[in-house]
């Protein structure tokens, strides 16, 4: 039988996990704050949430969007705090990548070295033993560790649950919130009760981790902090003073990382976006870009109130066009193409076969709704205009002036978004002029919006007036690939 001691890799993993889990918690709270409401059903229907973490109430006489609902949390509980979803996402995703790699290493080492028995029970008798341990704790006494093992029965079961159930659950429910994963595998998101089911379960996982940490620290205190600390530093109960000092140094370093991440994100978000985005985007491209949407929800699943983000162009030109049912609206398609074209709405309606798709919309803030979109597949337009070989991206310019139209957004200027040309050929990439069988409503982007179902919602530009095929985007706006990317520091490619 392998001796269940404290090898170096186990001790290192412990402290690395302290860093990763705390980063995940703080960045996760930042992400939660951007839409601090939890639901069970995919529709995220206003008023049906089961929990709220905000004091804001919304007006009933004006259109509000989910940017208005966003909460600003303190930097103590969230990373970095103060309505910085872009930053929160970057830290969350880069940490997840590190945490998954750590987990894979940990599992491998546990099984290869035989140390997995420290968590996985030898026999079923552990359950009655764990029950006895609970009774012992309730009697304000400490139970005995299992013979030859470092833990008592209930501790062993708890660690096993955290390492082999809770942690994977968090990762799996996280993945279930990726638009790309949901679009390619609708059954997978259904497994978790839908997009919002996965989100609520992910939140329970957060609570479970917080509870575990609290109980863990209490246990370490009850059982003997100096001794246990030494075990986790040196692997043996010796040099307690040095062990204490070492642990304080490690904890201070972890705190420093948190502070540095927070300050760096608040002071210089663009550099955080570039540095972390560089790594995260490669992960996305590798694992998530290949996932193409294959969604087909039923009509009965359509959301009665599809949520809205972004307010319509508050200009007289737009309102006059709208009241004339957009008869004067023209879509200009140009840039690096052989045949620049101008289309009216009637032209687009007659272009190729109208495609409809009933899909789950994922806002970057976390809400979702199911809608049916109808329009012309974007690839049909691409085939007509014939992009030149150097065209690699497509820029969608809209009629929305963010400074004028969206007071809850950080920044101003024309709203635009850029996607890779590759995505134009994906099966459910649509220029939509209809929603739920009727003309696309004004609040949802009339007369035309983009649908690109394996991406997060903010990429799907609304109120489009011009499409340009481009070779690079560094010279457009702030050069990050879209208005949200320029101003809120999201990544350009958002399969998650």
């Amino acid at each position: 039988m392998v001796q269940l001691d404290y090898p170096a890799w186990l001790r290192i993993e412990h402290w690395v996990n302290v860093l990763f889990v705390t980063l995940l918690i703080r960045s996760g709270i930042e992400i939660l704050g951007t839409h601090p409401k939890l639901y069970w059903r995919n529709d995220s229907k206003p008023g049906t949430e089961w929990a709220r973490f905000t004091r804001k109430t919304m007006p009933t006489d004006k259109l509000y969007d989910t940017l208005d609902e966003e909460e600003s949390y303190s930097s103590i509980v969230s990373l970095p705090g103060h309505k910085n979803l872009g930053m929160g996402r970057h830290w969350h995703f880069i940490t997840v990548m590190g945490w998954i790699l750590t987990g894979i290493a940990y599992y491998t080492l546990l099984f290869v070295t035989g140390q997995w028995h420290r968590y996985i029970p030898y026999s079923w008798s552990i359950f009655p033993q764990a029950w006895n341990d609970i009774l012992t704790y309730l009697s304000f006494k400490l139970p005995s560790p299992l013979p030859g093992e470092p833990l008592d029965a209930i501790q062993k079961l708890t660690y096993a649950s955290v390492i082999f159930i809770l942690a994977p659950l968090e990762i799996l429910t996280g993945a279930a919130q990726s638009p790309a994963v949901e679009a390619r595998f609708p059954w997978y998101v259904r497994l978790w009760g839908g997009r919002q089911g996965a989100r609520s379960l992910h939140f329970f996982g957060l609570l479970a981790f917080l509870g575990f940490i609290a109980v863990h620290l209490m246990m370490v205190g009850l059982w003997g902090w100096p001794q246990l600390n030494a075990l986790m530093i040196f692997g043996h109960v010796r040099h307690l003073g040095w062990a204490l000092a070492a642990s304080l140094v490690i904890i201070a370093a972890i705190v420093l990382v948190h502070v540095a991440a927070t300050v760096w994100s608040l002071r210089s978000p663009r550099t955080v976006q570039r540095a972390l985005g560089f790594v995260i985007s490669r992960g996305r491209r590798l694992f998530l870009r290949p996932l193409a949407s294959r969604q087909s929800y039923s009509s009965s699943q359509l959301s009665a109130e599809h949520r809205v983000n972004g307010k319509p162009p508050d200009s007289d030109d737009y309102k006059v066009m709208a009241v004339h049912n957009f008869i004067d609206w023209k879509l200009e398609v140009g840039g690096l193409v052989e045949n620049p074209m101008t289309f009216t709405l009637a032209d687009l309606r007659e272009l190729g076969e109208r495609q409809t798709q009933r899909v789950l919309h994922n806002c970057v803030q976390g809400w979702s709704s199911i809608g049916e979109w109808g329009g012309v597949p974007f690839r049909d337009v691409v085939d007509i205009v014939k992009p030149l070989p150097q065209a690699r991206h497509v820029c969608f310019l809209t009629m929305q002036d963010t400074g004028r139209d969206e007071p809850s957004a950080n920044g101003s200027g024309q709203f635009y978004e850029i996607i890779d040309l590759q995505l134009a050929y994906y099966p459910q990439c649509l220029l939509a002029y209809e929603m739920n069988g009727r003309p696309l409503p004004i609040k949802h982007g009339a007369p035309l919006r983009l649908r690109i179902e394996n991406q997060v919602g903010f990429k799907m530009a609304k109120w489009i007036e011009r499409i340009e095929f481009i070779s690079g985007y560094q010279g457009i706006g702030e050069g990050m690939g879209g208005w949200r990317e320029d101003n809120v520091y999201y990544d350009k490619d958002v399969e998650i």
């Binding site: 006489d61 004006k62 307010k311 508050d314 309102k319 709208a322 009241v323 004339h324 049912n325």
Partner: protein, 104 residues
Amino acid sequence: MTTVGSGSAARLGAADTVRPELTVLTDEQKHGVLREVRRRYGGCRYCGGEEFLVGDALYLGFLFLSEDTDAYMVALICTNLACSAPHTGIRLHRSEFQEESPVS
């Protein structure tokens, strides 16, 4: 000044599917609109023409931040075929195009 009933001239638009945000006005309301147009502009701002068709109304108060809660945009179509911008609109408060009982 002519008005249009519930039928349509070709210039009213290719509304083969009705936009849900638009409201169809009654003849009396359209009269009210034309009254306001005459009072404010006299004729078409682009070609000076004096004849308009009145289309539908779009309620602005809910959708647009800057608008008053009772604001509407009403579609106007200049009937002058040579007009460069026949599709315009007029912003009205509801009370401004409500039916006016004829003075007896």
